[in-house]
């Protein structure tokens, strides 16, 4: 009985929704860069990723924000590494929509992400999967990003590239699940190093 009286107030407090603190909820240029690179990784993992994103956006109720591929592409061009880079900042509603979209896509691809990161898969198969992912991502990066930017050169570098690509896949894997959105959003809002 004592348990009941003790747990009651804490349990009642947990029912109330806790509004997360939002000092400045806009993403920095660096955050937008990482967000777009993660979306690019999703496209590298899913051959039909571009179409799937538009479909997923309408499923999530962002049909008015991203009605077609062009609108989605325009938002993603705020990534400073893009060839067709746009200046300015995105509103919080737009970045939240992009992050939700990313989380939903990552959730769909979770079995693939898991295979890439698992140590219990056969080594040869893992190598092959990484090889395929890297070649597709490199292709997308060469096609869409500005090769003169240091960040892009690092991503394509045979020394640094694999480490950065692994970080992107790790970020995607930990951005899935029910708490993934908050984790990923907080990470994209990190201070610049």
């Amino acid at each position: 009985m004592a348990d009941v009286t003790i747990t009651a107030p804490t349990a009642a407090a947990a029912v109330e929704p806790l509004p997360p603190p939002r000092p400045s909820a806009r993403l920095s240029r660096r955050g937008l860069e990482r967000l777009d690179l993660m979306l690019l990784s999703v496209e590298a993992l899913d051959l039909n990723g571009g179409e799937a994103m538009v479909w997923m956006a309408s499923q999530l109720g962002f049909g008015s924000l991203f009605p077609n591929r062009v609108e989605l592409w325009k938002r993603r061009c705020y990534n400073p590494l893009r060839l067709a880079c746009r200046r300015g900042e995105l509103s919080e509603a737009e970045t939240d929509a992009l992050i939700s979209l990313l989380c939903a896509m990552a959730e769909r691809l979770y079995p693939m992400l898991r295979q890439l990161l698992s140590a219990s898969e056969p080594e040869a198969a893992t190598q092959q999967r990484w090889q395929l992912f890297r070649s597709r991502l490199d292709e997308l990066v060469r096609e869409r990003l500005n090769p003169r930017r240091g960040g892009v050169q690092k991503l394509l570098d045979p020394q640094d590239g694999p480490r950065l690509q692994r970080q992107l896949v790790q970020g995607l894997a930990f951005g899935t699940g029910r708490g993934g959105f908050d984790r990923l959003k907080a990470s994209l809002m990190d201070a610049a190093a």
Partner: protein, 212 residues
């Protein structure tokens, strides 16, 4: 009426048992009082415990995962805490998948060695998803509250860059300054002439004649 819920992922299975806390106004489907939990992790012994253990596990694993998303893995939990998590240093900067996270659980029983479990990224992701499911399930109202995820500060991110690399540029700058100063000191000062006013005052020797 005893309730039991299961949360499952590929390598992690969590079962919680409990009762609705009717005095807190919970419905009959909601677990408000935890009587026990059990977690099966692939390749590891089964874990079980009380509410405090579950809270301690959540308070360590989820912040650890939060740092991992930002690619700044760091140990979470002090040595005296019941649960600790830390990254396992790579023997070399190789990329093959390997167990790279260590979870250390201190038993509340006396004279028991702490239990160490190591996970690779995929197993940790499974565990995190499982704990997220538990934490955010409306049918579970155990008051397992965690501080909200927050952006990392510049100081925390800087740890990502190795110290040697971070200090290389300022050290090179200081060395360059020291070398320049040393060379500057070696150059002799120009010797002063005896008196500066020895030169005769300038005087016109011949008057200028205007040209015709």
């Amino acid at each position: 009426m005893k309730l039991s819920y299961r949360f499952e992922q590929t390598s992690c299975r969590l079962r919680i048992d409990g009762l609705p806390d009717l005095s807190a106004g919970h419905g009959p489907e909601v677990i408000g009082i935890l009587s026990g939990w059990e977690m099966d992790l692939a390749g590891h012994p089964t874990l079980e415990g009380k509410r405090d253990h579950l809270q301690a596990l959540l308070a360590v694993v989820l912040p650890y995962a939060r740092h991992l998303v930002s690619s700044v893995p760091r140990p979470v939990g002090a040595a005296s805490d019941p649960v600790q998590m830390e990254p396992i240093a790579a023997p070399r900067a190789g990329l093959p998948n390997r167990p790279s996270h260590r979870l250390r659980l201190h038993s509340s029983q006396p004279d028991t060695q702490p239990l160490e479990l190591s996970f690779d990224d995929a197993e940790l992701a499974d565990l995190v998803r499982c704990l997220d499911q538990l934490r955010l399930d409306p049918r579970v109202q155990l008051g397992l509250t965690l501080p909200p995820d927050r952006p990392l500060l510049r100081r925390e991110i800087l740890e990502r860059v190795p110290k040697r690399q971070r200090l290389a540029a300022p050290a090179a700058g200081l060395a360059a300054l020291a070398i320049t100063a040393a060379i500057g000191l070696m150059v002799p000062l120009p010797r002063r002439t005896a008196s500066p006013a020895t030169s005769p005052p300038a005087s016109p020797t011949s008057p200028l004649t205007p040209p015709r």
